[in-house]
């Protein structure tokens, strides 16, 4: 990063003053712009991004449905039919989606169940983002966390209920934290880019867990396929609405953790340090903050949160680990962090939204036979629009907000 030729290094540009004056001009125009929550930034753009995502998703549905395509093919003969067929298809799909996620108590319960691990995982990525780190490794951290958690879950069964659950959650946190520590440490000590390291650790974690699943310690007795022993009853997160519904105390833990992370980020000195390191590591160095230490701490916390995602899924829903335990939560988490604007409150909202999509998609497929994968498409589109707010502004023709701060994470791999 100290390369003098590095164009990103913020040396005073050669055309110093025009730019500076332009900036000053903008500040004047902005008037009393505050650091507080600009509604346009926080609500409008994500909402529009979601709408745009749903719209393009609808296009994909229409153009991949054979029947609707046929009516489009005969557009000349019967133009109304093509449109009404398309509308019916999309309407049915989306209404099945929302009915499947919000239409009944069970549906709502399932939505919350889907959202719970997403909250943790989204917070994990968002927290790292704030410290200037792109944690693509939530997937691996989640798995390792689930492993340590399940171990605590079936081993410490002598503990009384509440203590056991807590211990298993903490074990999950520690497992994920360990997996997060590695990229943090390597970044701090050698400058290894965390994106590469976390991608690699995802695979290493997955393979390692696959290995452990077959080991004597973990494998369920009487089974030859890789599946762990189930956690003890005392380690299960208690259901919130009775045994009939899967929604469990994990959701409350997630909300509490989100609150704690918010406080940590915006009201504590630790958060101040994270944000300083995240936006300007050079200034952090100058101000006497330990940049490396902050990277390590941020990755440990981030990994821990991802580990909690695994633990909450394990202790609240699945009760044992098996291949495919984490089905892409780590990647969803990136989407969530972006959609939630790396703000814990935003992440919770985004996770609930994704929960709606995820749990509703099953109902949608059952009712309309539109494959569930459409929601992945929608999610990806939403992130595109979130990551390129300018695109959304162009489409919807809204003014840029004055004090947007763009996180830039891509630096060279090996710096």
């Amino acid at each position: 990063m100290n390369d003098p030729q590095n164009p990103k290094a913020k040396e005073p540009p050669s055309t110093d003053v025009p730019v500076e004056e332009a900036v000053a001009e903008r500040a004047r125009a902005a008037g009393v712009a505050t650091q507080g929550l600009d509604w346009r930034n926080v609500i409008l753009v994500p909402t529009l991004a979601l709408l745009a995502g749903l719209f393009v998703g609808a296009l994909v549905m229409v153009f991949s449905d054979p029947d609707t395509l046929r009516s489009w093919a005969s557009l000349g003969r019967n133009p109304g039919k093509a449109l009404s067929d398309s509308w019916t298809l999309v309407y049915e799909a989306y209404s099945a989606l929302f009915k499947g996620s919000l239409g009944s108590p069970r549906a709502i319960s399932e939505t919350i169940v889907s959202a719970t691990p997403l909250i943790f995982a989204g917070l994990a990525v968002a927290l790292a983002f704030k410290a200037g780190l792109f944690n693509i490794g939530a997937e691996g951290q989640l798995l390792v966390g689930a492993m340590t958690s399940v171990y605590a879950g079936f081993t410490f069964d002598f503990l009384p209920g509440p203590v056991h659950v807590t211990a298993a959650l903490i074990a999950g946190f520690l497992g994920g934290a360990l997996w997060g520590f590695i990229p943090g440490f390597l970044k701090a000590r050698t400058g290894a880019h965390e994106v590469i390291v976390t991608i690699m650790l995802n695979y290493i974690g997955l393979l390692f867990v696959n290995f452990l699943l077959k080991s004597e310690i973990f494998i369920r007795s009487g089974r030859t396929d890789p599946i762990t022993k189930p956690v003890a009853e005392s380690a299960k997160l208690p259901p919130l609405l009775g045994a009939e519904y899967r929604v469990n105390a994990g959701f409350l833990v997630a909300l509490a953790v989100a609150g704690a992370i918010w406080w940590l980020l915006f009201r504590s000195t630790v958060g101040f340090r994270f944000r300083t390191v995240g936006t300007n590591p050079n200034a952090a160095l100058y101000a006497g903050m330990s940049v490396g230490g902050t990277y390590i701490l941020a990755m440990v916390l981030s990994g821990g949160l991802a580990g909690l995602a695994g633990a909450s899924q394990l202790l609240g829903v699945q009760y044992s680990v098996f291949p495919g335990f984490s089905s892409g939560y780590g990647f969803d988490a990136i989407a969530l962090a972006l959609l939630g604007r790396t703000h814990p409150g935003g992440v919770v909202m985004a996770a609930l939204l994704f929960g709606v999509l995820r749990s509703g998609a099953t109902g949608m497929q059952a009712a309309t036979s539109i494959p569930v994968d459409i929601i992945v498409v929608i999610q990806a589109l939403v992130i595109v629009f979130m990551a390129a707010p300018e695109l959304v502004r162009q489409i919807f023709r809204i003014r840029a907000d004055k004090q947007a701060e763009q996180d830039t994470l891509s630096a060279s791999w090996a710096t």
Binding site: S64, N210, G222, T224, T362, A367, V372
Partner: protein, 369 residues
């Protein structure tokens, strides 16, 4: 500037859409005559108004093998009994439970869960919903902690003694091998997979014992062996098969659903060796590779699934174990198809005899492991 910037993106998007649209539209004309003929007969069928629903494991409904065979049972029921067939694909194990629940909400008359890995989820659902009928393929509920068998009144367990049929296939393969090595690999080391491999190994061993030969089985030793790790990565199946070929195996049994298609590709490129397909007759499900299939170890899930649905329709459904065997036709080996002429009549007769001996209990597969 503002609008010009939009263009490449939009164009990209629409090109993608247009491409798929073109591909689909073109095919839809071909598909029209086959796809649209439901509801032409107005005669009321016994299952009219009922629904049969299948939850797949992670391999997908069109896997040419496992899920597809089971679904064939549903389609047969749709055609002959008039029930409505539905399916939900599970892309990850986390989908099992929501998928089952979605069908419960939909009011399916019977939910067929396909695959060993759905065992826990199905057991839980069957216990929680005593009025909902289930059929599960490949699982015999068993409580390992208490060491006792479990039976639910509302869940039919459809299991298959595929080792019996695989035994026959292994015997033929051993007889046909020129290199003295035959191979096998699986998707995941779970009982419904390893049972094939056991039968295969036992069949070869039986050949060695009766003929005084020394045919070696690569990839399975009765406990552990060669596994690709999932039922999806066909390229890995190809890789694995190439390794088996390299080490001299010339008849290979892939027990990994669609991953086996990678084996077919490998064999075709290598121009040597033959395959034994599983679950269904390969010459029917993957016609294009028919010249590679020595035979197939058939696991007639479609029949069992159809029977289960039929029993719901006629009200005779009851929970418990169904075990497909050579005797009841639940398992079997497929015709030798294109290899028919190459196989000695003696071997063919011996296979017939072996089949009878297994049915009669004279030969027990497990004895030859």
């Amino acid at each position: 500037m503002r609008n010009r910037g939009m263009k490449p993106w939009l164009i990209a998007m629409f090109l993608v859409l247009a491409m798929f649209a073109a591909a689909c539209a073109e095919e839809s004309t071909d598909g029209e005559d086959t796809g649209d003929d439901t509801g032409t007969e107005e005669e009321a069928l016994p299952g009219e108004g009922m629904t049969a629903c299948q939850v797949t494991d992670t391999g997908g409904i069109d896997d040419k093998s496992f899920n597809q065979t089971a679904y064939a049972g549903l389609e047969q029921a749709q055609e002959e009994l008039g029930v409505e067939a539905k399916f939900l694909e599970s892309s990850t194990p986390n989908d099992f439970e929501p998928n089952i629940n979605a069908f419960i909400e939909q009011g399916c008359d019977i939910i067929i869960t396909v695959g060993f890995l759905l065992g826990d989820a199905t057991a839980a659902a069957a216990e929680a919903n005593p009025d909902q009928k289930f059929a599960i393929v490949d699982v015999d509920f068993f409580d390992f902690e208490k060491g006792e068998d479990v039976v639910y009144d509302n869940a039919k367990e459809l299991t298959f003694q595929t080792d019996q049929a695989a035994f026959l296939a292994g015997y033929v393969a051993a007889g046909m091998s020129e290199t003295g090595k035959i191979g096998t690999y699986g998707g995941i080391n779970i009982p419904p997979v390893s049972i094939f491999m056991n039968g295969w190994l036992a069949g070869a061993n039986y050949w060695n014992e009766t003929k005084g030969a020394a045919v070696e089985v690569l990839g399975w030793d009765g406990k552990d062996g060669l596994f690709t790790g999932d039922f999806e990565d066909q390229d890995k199946g190809r890789n694995t098969t190439e390794s088996l070929l390299d080490e001299g195996a010339d008849v290979i049994l892939p027990v990994a659903g669609p991953v086996g298609l990678g084996s077919a590709a490998a064999l075709q490129d290598a121009g040597e060796g033959s395959l034994v397909w599983v679950d269904t007759d390969g010459c029917v499900s993957v016609e294009e590779y028919c010249d590679l299939f020595l035979t197939s170890v058939m696991k007639n899930m479609n029949i069992a699934v159809y029977d289960a649905i039929a029993s719901v329709v006629d009200g005779s459904f009851e929970g418990g174990l169904y075990s497909g065997t050579l005797e009841n036709g639940g398992v079997g080996i497929a015709p030798f198809n294109e290899f028919d002429s190459q196989i000695d009549d003696t071997i063919k007769t011996e296979v017939e005899e072996l089949q009878q001996k297994i049915i009669s209990g004279e030969i027990v597969v497990a004895d030859y492991l």
